[in-house]
């Protein structure tokens, strides 16, 4: 079928036929089509006609292999972003879903809900929206999908009144994500909720009134397993780590080996250590060379009872992750190998650093340039100078292999390194 064919004959009751979508109702996985039809078939519901036409348009997309939504401009009073406007290009055939906007709403950090809270969200969206909610979008928002222009304000007002706020869209600070963290995970090395709320709520104005060169995303993972995919997806990734020794319970090591076998333990723990920092003694106790350990989490993942992160915990900060556009894929680069995250002052220092990085981004990035691209353009050393961050070998896989580097102030830079090392080791340095 091509564009322009009459696709909206409908049956006698005015229900749009959905032969393509009907094929997505069988099978063991929950069907979103069945859900959409439940909304369509709710007699008397204000959203039923909208969902009938939404299903019609979606089926039409399946037949023509084209999308039919276009963007536009829509916001709520007092804010400049957070709503994704969608206007149908085939509203002539499907008039009831001609406006089908999404409200991006920031969830509680770590995605925790009570059933009572979820029911409140459903009640509001049933009154003013389509009855369709996504938990969650790739942005980390609750996506309240399907709202008329007229209802966007009242839906937001009611969500706002029960403690929810709009998320980010456009060239702005975006909604952040954090893992389950301290609420349920022994591997969590810092209070992700505290860092997440501290940073976003401090910089909130940058979310609600978009005025940055481009988007800026924070993500918080409690350990190197990085359950919220921060290194790939965040401009500013905070990844939990520790700087003392991995904690070993040798009795539990022996129990693990007794249960799983010595060969299996060698194959899956000792041999898989990326820096060959683990050895297994003949008496089935484990030894770890902590100076060589890179906090990758693998052995702790395998032996959850026997091994755990050390007690001197905090986080690494990696900056500049993003997908292809425009210069190609970038992962976050190690910028702060370790910051302590325990006291109020530690968290305030993190918030201040986040603000400094955002300011650097606002002042230096070109239009539509992510911070990773900006750093790529100027070089990491210039970024470090701008933020007054000392160079650290953890920032690189290896030192430069190129001789195209100007080193006339090498001695001054080396002096700074030795001075920093002396200060770190507690020595008093003459100024």
């Amino acid at each position: 079928m091509k564009d322009g064919d009459n696709v909206n004959d409908g049956d006698q009751n005015g229900v749009n036929p959905t032969p393509m979508l009907d094929q997505l109702e069988d099978g063991p996985w929950p069907s979103f089509v069945t859900g959409l039809k439940r909304l369509r078939d709710t007699e008397g519901a204000q959203y039923a006609p909208m969902m009938n036409d939404l299903l019609g348009q979606l089926n039409h997309s399946y037949e023509t292999r084209r999308g039919y939504w276009k963007g536009g401009t829509l916001s709520v009073f007092g804010y400049g972003g957070g709503i994704i406007p969608r206007f149908s290009e085939v509203a002539g055939d499907y008039p009831a879903s001609k406006e089908f906007h999404t409200l991006r709403i920031m969830p509680p950090a770590g995605f925790h809900y009570t059933t009572g809270l979820l029911r409140q969200l459903c009640d509001i969206w049933e009154k003013h929206g389509s009855g369709l909610i996504a938990f969650h979008g790739q942005s980390g928002d609750i996506m309240f999908q399907g709202c008329t222009s007229e209802n966007a304000q009242i839906a937001f007002d009611e969500l706002n009144e029960i403690g929810f706020d709009l998320g980010g869209a456009g060239p702005a600070l975006r909604t952040a994500m954090s893992c389950v963290g301290h609420a349920r995970c022994e591997q969590s090395c810092f209070d992700g909720v505290k860092a997440h709320r501290g940073i976003i709520n401090k910089l909130l104005d940058e979310m609600h009134r978009p005025s940055m060169p481009y988007k800026f995303k924070f993500k918080f993972s409690g350990c190197g397993n990085d359950c919220v995919n921060a290194i790939h997806r965040a401009d500013f990734a905070v990844i939990g780590t520790w700087r003392d020794d991995i904690k070993i319970n040798q009795e539990k090591v022996k129990e693990h080996i007794a249960e799983k076998g010595r060969k299996y333990t060698i194959d899956t723990v000792v041999s898989m250590c990326p820096t060959r920092a683990i050895s297994l003694h003949d008496d089935d106790t484990l030894e770890i060379d902590n100076k060589s350990c890179v906090r990758c989490m693998h052995c702790i993942n395998v032996m959850t009872k026997a091994l755990s992160p050390g007690d001197d915990r905090g986080a690494s900060i990696m900056i500049g992750g993003k997908r292809s556009l425009k210069i190609g894929d970038l992962m976050g680069t190690m910028i702060k190998p370790f910051i302590k995250l325990e006291s109020e002052e530690d968290f305030e220092a993190l918030e201040d650093f986040a603000e400094e990085v955002m300011e650097f981004f606002a002042d230096n990035a070109l239009e539509h340039e992510r911070i990773g691209e900006c750093i790529d353009r100027i070089g990491v050393p210039a970024f470090l100078d701008a933020l007054d961050i000392p160079a650290d070998p953890n920032m690189v896989n290896h030192p430069t292999t190129s001789s195209y580097v100007r080193t006339d102030d090498f001695d001054e830079e080396a002096a700074k390194w030795f001075e920093r090392k002396a200060t770190e080791s507690g020595m008093v340095v003459d100024s």
Binding site: M20, F32, T115, G116, E161, D165, T268, C273, K305
Partner: protein, 360 residues
């Protein structure tokens, strides 16, 4: 009423909600003091706190795009069989937390009998992380929720069990921006033809310098077409990425047959063992045959099976391939290696084999 309209309500800028009021009481009590965890069965986690408290989590798959009836059904299950506290994972699975182990089995039964598969933990194929597609995106080349439903129907038995070598994270993306993200297997739209320009609309709809600046290969330049300011494309330079389409919708990148699907493998977010990696192209030009993507699904299944059969415990997809070599991967999956698999972008020399190491 009129008074209210005259004086609009200012937003209460509350920011990120505090999750503490919505956390299970044992999460509050043992916040930051957990000791270890294990998995009594697929889909169930047991976390033990230093206080000795145990918290059981039952994880179930959802369709992500949920109607209020589905959400209320999950709430009913949460009230009747669990403790009323839930959370969602990064991959849109729902988790029910319960303090009493005796609640676990009836909760699993209630979820399963209501059509919510219990699983997605450990060495399983978890729910596919996906995008919006034709349902809501303004630039999609294909659907998201629909094709994901088809894929998860196929992979359902690997979701409810933990029989893979390690976890398998699959993503789909409905354009090359790749909002679905990196994955052990990534299934992404891949455009194959330069955009078709509607020159009548460009001047009014597009900010032309911004569109020119957006192109990663400098293939777009301003031009007068039929007496109107428009844009033209050097089609020999164009890499068909679609980057010009969002800022300039008259540069239509999607075509009935030219919008294809590519499959990528070996992306990994975690730092466990090897460093995080990007996924790598393995096959392109597959037809966009929604709703079921049969050609795509067949190859995904082939890759999953080869990995399941040959990888060692704890090896992720990319680590497995790193060990066996790409020659063996293409051989085992019966896929073709072509010149298009060889990177030409900035930094590509670092992706070449600059050694005498070969897999023969």
């Amino acid at each position: 009423m009129n008074e209210m309209k005259a004086k609009p309500r200012m937003p209460d800028e509350v920011g990120v909600p505090d999750p503490k009021p919505f956390m299970h009481p044992l999460s509050i009590k043992n916040y930051g003091t957990w000791d270890y965890h294990d998995r009594p069965r697929a889909g169930v986690l047991r976390h033990v706190a230093k206080s000795g408290d145990e918290l059981f989590t039952v994880r179930a798959g959802t369709q992500r795009q949920m109607d209020v009836y589905t959400i209320r059904k999950l709430c009913d299950i949460g009230d009747n069989y669990a403790d009323g506290y839930v959370r969602f994972t990064t991959r849109s699975n729902i988790e029910f937390m319960v303090a009493d182990e005796a609640k676990v089995a009836p909760l699993i039964e209630a979820l399963s009998s209501n059509g919510f598969p219990v699983g997605g933990t450990g060495a399983s194929v978890s729910m596919i992380s996906h995008t919006q597609g034709w349902l809501h995106c303004d630039i999609p080349g294909t659907d998201a929720s629909g094709v994901v439903k088809g894929l998860m129907d196929m992979l359902h038995s690997e979701f409810i069990k933990e029989e893979m070598p390690n976890r398998v994270r699959i993503t789909t993306s409905c354009c090359q921006i790749n909002c679905g993200g990196q994955g052990d297997i990534a299934i992404n739209v891949q455009y194959t033809k330069p955009p078709k320009i509607n020159h009548d609309l460009v001047a009014n709809v597009c900010e032309r310098p911004a569109v020119v600046a957006r192109c990663p290969v400098a293939a777009i330049r301003p031009a007068m077409v039929n007496g109107k300011p428009s844009l033209e494309i050097d089609e020999k330079k164009c890499v068909c990425c679609g980057a010009c389409y969002p800022p300039c919708p008259p540069m239509q990148i999607n075509g009935d047959d030219s919008t294809k699907i590519a499959i990528w493998v070996g992306g990994k977010h975690s730092n466990a063992r090897s460093k995080p990696t990007f996924h790598k192209l393995v096959v392109a030009n597959l037809p966009n045959n929604a709703p079921h993507w049969p050609e795509v699904n067949a190859i995904v299944l082939r890759i999953v099976k080869a990995y399941k059969k040959d990888a060692k415990h704890w090896e992720r997809m990319g680590e497995w391939i790193e060990r066996i070599g790409w020659s063996r991967f293409f051989e085992m999956t019966e896929l073709a290696f072509t010149k298009h698999h060889i990177d030409t972008w900035t930094g590509s020399r670092k992706t070449m084999n600059q050694s005498a190491h070969v897999h023969l």
